[in-house]
């Protein structure tokens, strides 16, 4: 997850005053999470790239409406995710999000978390396959919360649903995932 530097408000103020470098810094700071969020929504890297570009452009145009003191990241992600959803709608197609594991990862490589070490490689692969087989709503909410590490507010923005719905949708998605994992384990 990308951090949220303390100088975001300063960058916004400078960008609102016409400081090009400040907006460039905002773009560079959030382009990865914006692109990945759009990728989760569209399931297509090309569409995500376009959505991120357009989203940052629209955010720039609306910058002077940004509420002072608000968190910049959810605001940006909402705009980018809206753009991504609009692209899915206007094209009439949604690529199925197919998440994969990084090749070559081994527990112990790249300083994985203690939890990562504890989960065997084949278990991880099966778990991801199970997630990929879930419904679109379930996949998206799980990917947003756990893989993108979005907050509840950001997940709501990414999925275009009320924040209150995120919790219930995530709970149901986890319950279905858990049931499938247990079903596979007992088979």
């Amino acid at each position: 997850m990308e951090g949220r530097p303390a100088d975001d408000p300063d960058l916004i103020t400078r960008a609102q005053r016409g400081d090009k470098a400040a907006y460039e810094e905002i773009v560079q700071r959030y382009q990865q999470i914006a692109f990945r969020t759009a990728y989760v929504v569209t399931g297509s890297a090309a569409d995500a790239e376009d959505a991120a570009q357009e989203g940052f452009m629209k955010a720039f145009r609306a910058l002077d409406r940004f509420r002072a003191g608000a968190d910049l990241r959810p605001w940006l992600l909402r705009i980018v995710a809206n753009e991504a959803r609009n692209r899915v709608r206007s094209s009439g197609r949604r690529h199925q999000l197919e998440l994969r594991l990084t090749e070559g990862f081994r527990p112990g490589d790249a300083a994985p978390s203690p939890e990562a070490v504890a989960v065997a490689a084949d278990e991880r692969r099966r778990l991801l396959e199970t997630i990929n087989a879930l419904s679109e709503d379930d996949r998206l909410v799980i990917a947003s919360r756990y893989f993108l590490d979005l907050s509840g507010e950001e997940t709501a923005a990414a999925l275009g649903i009320p924040e209150g719905t995120v919790k219930s949708r995530l709970s149901r998605a986890l319950a279905r995932l858990r049931a499938r994992v247990e079903e596979a384990a007992s088979a």
């Binding site: 609102q16 005053r17 016409g18 090009k20 907006y23 460039e24 773009v27 560079q28 382009q31 692109f35 990945r36 990728y39 890297a45 090309a46 569409d47 995500a48 790239e49 376009d50 991120a52 570009q53 357009e54 940052f56 452009m57 629209k58 720039f60 145009r61 609306a62 910058l63 002077d64 409406r65 809206n82 609009n86 709608r89 206007s90 009439g92 998440l99 994969r100 594991l101 990084t102 090749e103 990862f105 790249a110 994985p112 978390s113 939890e115 990562a116 504890a118 989960v119 278990e123 991880r124 778990l127 991801l128 799980i142 756990y146 893989f147 993108l148 590490d149 995932l177 858990r178 994992v181």
Partner: protein
């Protein structure tokens, strides 16, 4: 075995994401044009034109989009009302100037008007009226629409959108790109003037107008995005489709958009006849 949520958290570090494209900003100062009122952001001298440019690594979809843009510009240039708009595009996209002999515009793409313009499902005026909560307004000067479409969630606004398509009317050019003369879109919602102005872009103009007693806006310029606040308070994003001039006004809570190669007075007259 770790808890499921712990496993998911652990998996996050191992997900293979597509490489993040490097976006960077390129913000030339926009050329100011006298006359019509400019979006306030630009008027305050803080605008930079198209603010985002992708890195030189032009992706294939963007290359296709660029080619499509050239074709669109060439085709639209056949229409006198569009030439000013095209000229503005030419200033921004110099590749258009290098086309020596514009070919004959391509025939209409396959598919119905609704499919080409993403208008939703074909229906009739009566059926659409039974579905939506507002009284669908039909411009009396155009008569009955040639086609009617209904766009429902999730692809449409929260309380649906109705599109009235006029494929040909005397005195109004028919777009060879779309086969449509006038498009009337209606949806429940409202626009935020300030936010709305931001979406017009540096090359567009927006002018406040009175449409039969309703507050409205006359918009000119290149194709632009459009978004409004739906009845449920969320924003709905869309693109003005016909790349011509557009009249937008609020008819007692119903947002009406009239798109086409219309003059300002023609559009206001149409709007007032609803």
């Amino acid at each position: 075995m770790p808890d499921l949520e712990q496993q998911l958290t652990a998996l996050a570090a191992e997900i293979e994401w597509p490489p993040t494209p490097r976006l960077h900003v390129s913000m030339p100062l926009p050329a100011r044009r006298p006359g019509a009122r400019r979006a306030s952001f630009w008027s305050e001298g803080r605008g930079w034109g198209f603010p985002i440019r992708l890195s030189p690594r032009l992706s294939r979809p963007l290359a296709i989009a660029a080619a499509a843009l050239v074709i669109v510009a060439i085709a639209l240039a056949a229409y006198p009302p569009s030439r000013d708009a095209i000229a503005r595009w030419v200033n921004l996209h110099t590749t258009i100037q290098r086309v020596p002999n514009p070919p004959t515009p391509s025939p209409l793409p396959s598919g119905s008007t609704g499919e080409r313009l993403h208008l939703g499902s074909p229906t009739t005026l009566g059926a659409a009226q039974q579905k939506v909560t507002w009284k669908i307004a039909v411009p009396s000067t155009l008569g009955q629409p040639d086609e009617v479409y209904l766009k429902e969630p999730p692809s449409g606004p929260s309380q649906d959108e109705v599109a009235l398509v006029y494929t040909g009317r005397a005195g109004i050019p028919t777009s060879r790109l779309t086969g449509v003369s006038v498009l009337v879109m209606e949806a429940r919602g409202k626009f935020d003037e300030i936010f709305f102005q931001k979406t017009i872009g540096s090359e567009g103009t927006i002018e406040e107008v009175n449409v039969g007693g309703h507050a409205g806006y006359w918009i000119t310029g290149p194709p632009h995005d459009f978004f409004f606040t739906q009845a449920d308070g969320t924003r709905y994003f869309d693109t003005l489709r016909l790349a011509g001039n557009t009249l937008i006004f609020d008819d007692n809570g119903t947002l009406v958009r009239i798109e086409g190669d219309l003059t300002r007075d023609q559009a206001i007259q149409l709007g007032a006849s609803l």
